[in-house]
Symmetry: C2
Subunit: 418 residues, 2 copies
């Protein structure tokens, strides 16, 4: 929106007031936050906006319900008192490279310190990153302590089994020319795809080439750091890292059809150990449910897999997803390395992942990977061997190469056996 709407008049965002120019131009990849300029996705001062979309990802829709029902004053501005980061992250050289970070705002946690004057003057500038501290308690970590795979040290792991972490929430901020370059397409083609495939979300994607930054209404990223976070500043620090894509069915409910929670927990245990041994552990959690196809599609695929004539076979694992969804996987790891760049990391010593896509995306972005750590066999649920065999055959990392007959032999539970 380019100007305040009168009650009887709604100006569409697709075509602004003729000749209008930006009050807050953005220069992506600039030397510092003030030269780059503030990301302004406000809906209460439309004349200040310099992006497409708004803050909070999908949760803008709930904000709309809050306003429509009278529970939220639409011109209400956040009071950011005491919300500043609970740990210092950066700045790192990568923040000044417009090609290294294209999908988040590297200065997004520091708006109050960089733009305090503007905020005090009433400009609605909001953080897109928040850094806090937490203690976490997981039954599997208690078991690791009981089995003496972990010991408590009073610093990372406490006597009651809880673990200290720094945790960071990051909302997506897409610099469209940079996102297009990552996908090997033109900015025009990307903008058109975003407009058409969403059923016409944000016409400015195609009518406003002057707005180059998009706040997409998708889930963001959470980062958990284990150990002394000041060691991010020392290039010698040994880094253990798992990049995990959300799987609600396993991560929360423990579904036995996949290895998601077991592998995540194994990654956390490895990260705790790294933090205790003078290194740093990093879990990156991306909201990309069901290979970024959503849970409805995921459950449809489960049914199609389980009802195949020859049973749920590893050999047809990816094929079934493609039949239902048109693609085998929509997670596209091309944007994933940004958070690693944001943390100033150039080398991952232990990468707790078998995904060739994640590995290749990181290496392609100049992040060295020293060692790849597969999920230990004893952590794979019985019914998840179908997934594991299919992934290894498709190029996922494994310590032992798979024999072809295993692919045909690995068959899961049919629907009537649940």
């Amino acid at each position: 929106m380019t100007r305040s709407n009168r009650t009887d008049h709604i100006r569409l965002t697709s075509h602004p007031v003729p000749g209008a120019k930006h009050n807050f131009p953005l220069q992506w990849g600039a030397e510092n936050a003030r030269e780059r300029g503030p990301i302004i996705g406000t809906v209460s001062r439309p004349q200040d906006r310099n992006v497409i979309g708004s803050h909070g990802g999908s949760y803008t829709v709930y904000r709309a319900l809050a306003v429509s029902s009278g529970a939220l004053d639409p011109i209400r501005r956040p009071d950011l008192t005491n919300t500043h980061p609970a740990a210092t992250i950066g700045p790192f050289g990568q923040w000044r490279d417009p090609a290294k970070i294209v999908a988040l705002d590297p200065w997004g946690h520091l708006v109050a310190e960089n733009f305090g004057g503007e905020i005090a003057e009433g400009i609605d500038i909001r953080p897109t990153i928040a850094v806090t501290k937490a203690r976490i308690e997981l039954p599997e970590l208690h078991a690791a302590l009981a089995a003496r795979r972990l010991v408590h040290d009073g610093d990372v792991v406490h006597a009651n089994g809880s673990v200290s972490v720094v945790k960071i929430a990051i909302d997506p901020v897409w610099y469209l020319p940079g996102v297009a370059a990552r996908f090997g397409t033109s900015e025009t083609n990307l903008r058109r795809g975003l407009f058409e495939q969403t059923g016409g979300m944000y016409p400015e994607l195609v009518t406003r080439p002057d707005l180059q930054v998009f706040l997409p209404p998708i889930g963001g990223t959470t980062v958990y750091l284990f150990g002394d976070v000041t060691k991010l500043n020392d290039a010698r620090t040994k880094i253990t890292c798992r990049v995990h894509d959300e799987c609600n069915g396993s991560d929360v409910f423990g579904s036995d059809i996949c290895t998601c929670r077991p592998y995540l927990i194994h990654g956390i245990e490895e990260c705790v150990a790294a933090g205790q041994n003078g290194g740093l552990g990093i879990i990156v959690y991306n909201r990309k449910e069901g290979r970024a196809l959503g849970e409805v599609t995921k459950f449809l695929v489960y049914n199609a897999r389980k009802r195949q004539e020859d049973g749920d076979a590893a050999a047809a694992y990816f094929e079934r997803t493609e039949c239902v969804a048109g693609v085998q996987d929509a997670r596209f790891q091309q944007l994933m390395p940004d958070v690693i760049h944001w943390l100033g990391i150039t080398r991952i010593d232990r990468f707790i992942s078998m995904s060739d896509m994640k590995h290749d995306a990181l290496v392609g972005q100049g992040v060295d990977i020293v060692e790849r750590v597969p999920i230990p066999d004893e952590l794979i649920p019985a019914d998840a061997h179908v997934e594991m065999a299919a992934k290894k055959a498709a190029g996922y990392f494994s310590l032992e190469p798979q024999k072809p007959q295993e692919l045909g032999d690995t068959v899961g539970r049919p629907l009537e056996k649940y």
Copy 2:
């Protein structure tokens, strides 16, 4: 979009071809699926569309990346072979009441059986609900078996500790006149709020009153059913139910600042017992991270709470959220009862929740609640007593009313103690 776009020409969705009419009119709350009409959010046959938005919630954005990068053919149609529901749900009388279900498509899992002819002719009709089966394994349930709070019966709980469930993914489908009525506002006001507060998402919200159904790009709902699901058809079945709003920090990572995972797990244990005792257990999991304000806001609030002059006090718990976000809570339970109506339920015998908002929303929608079950005290993490005391003082259900001084006395860990 109202017609196929030429390469050199993009027709904005806000203003269709003059005089165009719908090929597939919708009649919300009609007697059956064919009279109601199919929900068509296709992007490959724009002339068939009868809704605002598209399928897959937020994941439309990833579909756009798939198409932009050449990985997905934009006119690809899903092959729904073998994807039909793995258990029968409904139809129930509530499906025919346009005021009882306004935020999902009650026929959304049955598109292949109701519109098979149209799909075969090339109309791109997609399911918005998927019903499958699963086995879940949770360390806390193993502990419950070891402690003999649960026993295995070979049917609901298996000898290895895994639990059989029917699970259902539901994407939101909003009938805008009905949603407006739930929030006590006009449809025009709701449409305008949705348009303005999202920074101008979907101009058709304000230009196309003829399109009354919206597929919002927000996370959906997952339902887990424990026990014999055919008992949904018997009004005498004892129902145990927890309605849980997502909290990634606790549900997955076990953060000790809140009671989310402990209460969810307690709910699952109660649901398992209900299923074993001839009743039905139901977990409803809604994607509403951080009170539907998102995780960035949530972490900012944590910092503000922990840095208050008098410490993280129950007395200021809700105030801190309101300072940062403008509202204390944006979850708005008004639409939540729809899934209970969809399951044909008119009475919940054991409601595993202390939330007065959830209770009041259900009762207001005509669902009886017989007994409310608070979280057992021994499951509340030490640092989560702040949240619990604040919620009880604000009207959350509790077996013993709170004494005023407890509210002032309950103080959590400051940031330097993590």
